[in-house]
């Protein structure tokens, strides 16, 4: 008997010990989260607070800072270049979000209708996404060249007038959006494909058996079941577009663009900080921009939630 009870008591003792110090509670957990949160606080959280503090000073990279209160914010309110740059960011967002939400959806739907060659189309449409922005800019700058650039050369041989793609207001922004759509299209395309993949094929089979046309299947099955993906893609795209800097800065060689028509908010902040060394003023603008982006993000997440509940209720 002793041999049989002995292990049981050991288990009981161990259980008691575990109740006293369950490894799943307490300090150990904090150690697990520490590496992430130390980096997180140092490089994401602290800069936000730091921007807020610095924005109240007339600070430069060299020399000492003097307290100026809200003067930087007052200056920003009256700075036409700042508001122009905010508008350019908004304009880029308005121009880039619709094609980047709709085109990948349309192509994902088309690709879902073809059989074995799917991988080939996926390859073609997704490939540009893995390119560094500098490569994208080199290629598109070359395509947009006057005279011997590929696009203008073809326009001329078709008897059409050349377009000054990067050198005139509005057109320049449209050209930047075209290059951006080509470059980042693949990401949204893949998210849509993943969404389509989640729709059980049995639904289509059953619908087809009941005599539903492909058009009806699209309206009644695909679109409703894809709505959460569409909302997710839209939200991510709005936030991504608001952060635009790289391709505009590089395509316009660091200039404000033709008649100051393309410089986005982040570029203006960058210039204030790193070419004029006005750290305080740049921080104030950073903070205003930061608040705007976060507000838009929260608004769109709220819309996602609402749309999400509606889908669940109606289905």
């Amino acid at each position: 008997m002793a041999t049989a009870t002995e292990p049981l008591t050991r288990v009981a003792a161990r259980t008691r010990a575990r109740r006293i110090r369950d490894p799943r509670t307490g300090r150990a957990a904090l150690l697990f989260t520490a590496p992430f949160f130390v980096l997180f606080v140092l490089f994401l959280f602290w800069p936000v607070l730091s921007a807020l503090r610095t924005s109240l000073f007339d600070d430069s990279l060299v020399g000492s800072a003097t307290w100026v209160g809200l003067e930087n914010y007052a200056e920003l309110l009256d700075d036409p270049n700042f508001w122009a740059s905010m508008w350019h960011t908004a304009f880029f967002t308005l121009l880039s979000v619709p094609p980047l939400v709709v085109l990948p959806l349309a192509l994902a739907l088309l690709v879902s209708r073809v059989g074995r060659l799917q991988w080939l189309f996926r390859l073609a449409f997704f490939a540009p996404y893995v390119l560094p922005v500098s490569v994208v800019v080199l290629i598109w700058n070359w395509l947009y060249q006057p005279g011997f650039g590929l696009i203008n050369s073809y326009l001329t041989s078709l008897g059409l007038a050349e377009v000054n793609w990067l050198g005139q207001p509005v057109v320049a922004m449209v050209s930047i959006v075209i290059a951006t759509v080509w470059w980042t299209f693949g990401f949204n395309f893949v998210l849509y494909l993943a969404g389509l993949q989640e729709i059980p094929r049995e639904l289509y089979e059953a619908a087809a058996t009941d005599g539903a046309t492909p058009g009806q299947q699209l309206r009644r099955i695909t679109v409703p079941l894809l709505s959460s993906t569409i909302v997710l893609v839209t939200t991510l795209q709005v936030i991504a577009s608001l952060k635009v800097f790289d391709q505009i800065y590089l395509l316009q060689l660091g200039t404000p663009g033709p008649e100051n028509s393309t410089r986005p908010a982040i570029q203006y902040i960058y210039e204030a900080g790193f070419t004029q060394y006005r750290i305080g003023y740049a921080s104030a603008m950073s903070f205003v921009f930061f608040v705007v982006v976060v507000a838009v993000a929260i608004l769109s997440i709220w819309l996602v939630r609402r749309a999400g509940t509606r889908t669940v209720v109606s289905s």
Binding site: F36, L61, R113, P132, V133, L143, F148, W182, A212
Partner: protein
């Protein structure tokens, strides 16, 4: 072998509505072929240009082939040697960022998924808030801070701010949450520490998630331009995106060389993409958020 965090693979066939009329499918094919060609033309034109003698690149009307096919532009680009340095810098920083992200994010996610501790909710909210912080807007305070730390113009200056990835934490947590608790119970009864459980049970089980997060992080970090551009001023620290950003101005009208450098800059990830198309598409789809 059980794996965590896998969805039905995107790389399989995606299917849509059934019962098209006979003419629909050919039309869809035609539309897709035309669009795919449009999509490929910019890359093909870059390659075609890079193979021409430089003097022939600026002739209008354009032709796809020069008088000869030459690798001269590539030879010159490689002889200058800078791009080899950029490759090295990109590979080094991107590998550190990828490894660091996987370790820090999986550790934190493990605690969130499997442990109870004070401040858990607060920390979780911080992670969620981190998803919407526009990193780009913080560039000025971040740079002054890096200067204060003495990390401007160093590899660590490039790497450290890119390590904390809230989305990676959420992806790991989602995968960990999906696993039944019984899995670690027996190990706990045997008195294993949480570190052992994390390292010997969870990490081996999570290979699919590690691959997804790793691929996603690698692609994003390899292509990140803004932060390395701001924090490095010494050419010896330039990554591929930063180094190539100066090509347009410094090479002027030498378009064959510009395109050779563009092709060389595109090559590593394009090759990786051709080899691992399935995994990369899957990784992006599963992670599903951009930086």
């Amino acid at each position: 072998m059980t794996t965590l965090g896998t969805r039905r693979p995107v790389s399989g066939l995606v299917e849509g509505p059934r019962g098209h009329r006979g003419w629909v499918r050919p039309v869809i094919y035609a539309v897709l072929v035309v669009l795919a060609l449009v999509w490929v033309v910019p890359l093909a034109w870059a390659v075609a240009t890079s193979l021409k003698p430089d003097a022939e690149t600026t002739i209008a009307p354009v032709s796809w082939f020069g008088s000869e096919v030459t690798l001269d532009a590539y030879r010159v680009a490689l002889e200058q040697g800078e791009i080899l340095k950029w490759y090295f810098n990109s590979l080094l920083t991107t590998s550190l960022i990828t490894a660091g992200t996987i370790v820090t994010a999986s550790l934190a996610a493990f605690a969130f998924s499997r442990m109870r501790f004070r401040g858990r909710d607060l920390l979780m909210w911080m992670v969620l808030a981190g998803l919407i912080v526009p990193f780009q807007a913080l560039i000025v305070p971040l740079f002054t801070q890096m200067t204060a730390f003495g990390l401007a113009d160093t590899y660590w200056g490039i790497v450290l701010p890119q390590l904390a990835s809230p989305i990676a934490v959420l992806v790991f947590k989602r995968a960990f949450d999906a696993v039944p608790r019984e899995l670690e119970e027996s190990a706990l009864v045997d008195g294993a520490s949480m570190w052992r459980i994390y390292w010997l049970i969870w990490m081996p089980l999570s290979r699919a998630t590690i691959a997804a997060v790793g691929i996603f992080t690698f692609v994003i970090a390899w292509n990140t331009f803004f932060w390395p551009f701001v924090v490095t001023s010494a050419g010896s620290l330039f990554t591929i995106p930063v180094g190539l950003a100066n090509v347009q101005t410094s090479y002027g009208a030498l378009y064959a060389q510009q395109m050779a450098l563009a092709v060389l800059g595109a090559l590593p990830l394009l090759i990786a993409f051709l080899l691992f198309q399935r995994q990369i598409v899957q990784g992006i789809a599963n992670t599903g958020l951009k930086g």
